[in-house]
Amino acid sequence: MAGAWANQIVQGVLLGGLYAMFAMGLSLSAGVMRFINIAHGDLIVLVCFMVLSLAVGLGVPLLLAVAIIVPLAFVAGYVLQRLLLQRVLGQGVLPVILVTFGLSIIIQNALQGTYGADTRKVPAGSIETATIHVVDGINVGVLPLTIFVAAVLLVLLLDRVLYRTGIGARIRAVSDDPSAANLIGLPSPHIYAIAMGIVGITIAISGAFMAVWTNFDPTSGPSRLLIAFEAVVLGGLGSLWGTLAGGILLGVAQTLGGQFDAAWQVLAGHIAFLVIFTLRPQGLFPRY
């Protein structure tokens, strides 16, 4: 019995890797641009469908499909920020919420119009069923493990980019004080757009992994947004490692809830979030 619970916790940690990846971009945009992109989950699902079209529709090898989508996502993130979001930043609370909210609804319905409402999944071949035997009662799927390792690497990489590179320093500078940056010739719209491009890359990577691991349909976005949001808030705003911890916490809460009763899986994640948030609103690892 204890073995079954231990197994669920391991599976939950691995699931948390995917959730943390969903949350990475949201954490970055919330930390740097200080807004919550309500269309975040829908953009992830949009990537899932792009992977579907390339890999299943056109027969492009999966890795090549990702290699095509990642740079596209950077450009798309840059353009989205520069042409749309930048125009409503700094005008109070409402405009950016309403614009990203409208975007969310447009993406969902455009996907539904294009692909129909069916549930989809992208086949990834033999990796899907391959498992590694750890100890008795605990088997780890190669795909979930790969995703978890990728999530940790992504946090490491983002952390290095933000804290060890020139562009990272410029992003943090603009995040500190955009108008001071403008005064000394560091144009905040351009830097914000680069940050959103990086967010786009995290969206592309997490969307690609989601496409091969879980089912998705055009309305899957909001639930991804909620999970990403919960991981960001649980981890502490602006802390990437905290976001990873938040994602893992949610993954474990969900699988344990699912162990109790399959129908409780999603609800258990939300309840865990609400309880922890009530007890510790500043999150687990607040940066400030």
Partner: protein, 233 residues
């Protein structure tokens, strides 16, 4: 003497509010020029207009005879105009070194390197890995000045660099200005403290309610004359 910066009939508007009225001035290479004037006279608006951070201007601003009207702030900084903003405006979560490097990254490529700034302000070398927010006000002003210097400006704009600092610290900063000038950088300083800025300036302009009402060399006028135009008496 060739003019490095020419400001010609410059007016600055914030919506319907007009902050400057047809202001004209020049700065030659290797010159320290002081802008004096009371609070709200339009001094900061002038500096912001020179770096291109005001909503609307009329008139001309030329650097070495080339109009900067259509250039972004980034292009002006890269062409050799650097601002030390009022209130220092460092990036508090960045280290001293990261703050300085942003000056280098945005600026004109030139001979002033980080080590030169540490030579001017040795204390910054000791504190280079500390966050800017942990420094004293005087040290922060050194970083702000260093950040602008690392942009290798041909024209350095200093907005109220003495604000809120102890006299001994201000003395130190003001002693730097002739050294910087002697490396070939022209300096435009904006100050409310008349005696301090006139002591170091080659020429000055006095602004009153958005207009130049007195200009010349500091020795040409008595203190009373300067004060009269400063307060508009």
């Amino acid at each position: 003497m060739t003019a490095l910066l020419e400001v010609d009939a410059l007016s600055v508007f914030y919506g319907k509010f007009r902050a400057l009225f047809d202001v004209s001035l020049t700065i030659a290479e290797g010159e320290i020029v002081s802008i004096i004037g009371a609070n709200g006279a339009g001094k900061s608006s002038l500096l912001k207009a020179i770096v291109g951070q005001v909503p609307r201007v009329e008139g001309e601003i030329r650097l070495s005879g080339r109009s900067m009207a259509d250039q972004t702030t980034a292009a002006r900084v890269a062409a050799g105009v650097a601002l030390v903003p009022e209130g220092r405006r460092l990036f508090p979560s960045l280290t001293v070194e990261e703050n300085l490097d942003i000056g280098w990254q945005t600026g004109r490529r030139g001979e002033i390197r980080r080590d030169d700034v540490y030579g001017y302000f040795p204390v910054l070398r000791e504190r280079r890995n500390q966050r800017a927010s942990q420094l004293s006000g005087g040290q922060q002003q050194m970083v702000a000045l260093g950040r602008a210097l690392l942009a290798n400006p041909r024209l350095l704009l200093c907005d109220e660099i003495s604000l809120g600092l102890a006299p001994v610290v201000i003395d130190g900063l003001y002693r730097m200005l002739p050294q910087i000038r002697d490396r070939g950088t022209a300096i435009l300083i904006v100050e409310q403290d008349i005696s301090r800025s006139l002591a170091v300036a080659d020429r000055f302009y006095c602004l009153l309610e958005g207009k130049v009402n007195l200009s010349g060399r500091p020795g040409e006028f008595s203190r009373e004359e300067v004060e009269r135009s400063y307060f508009g008496g």
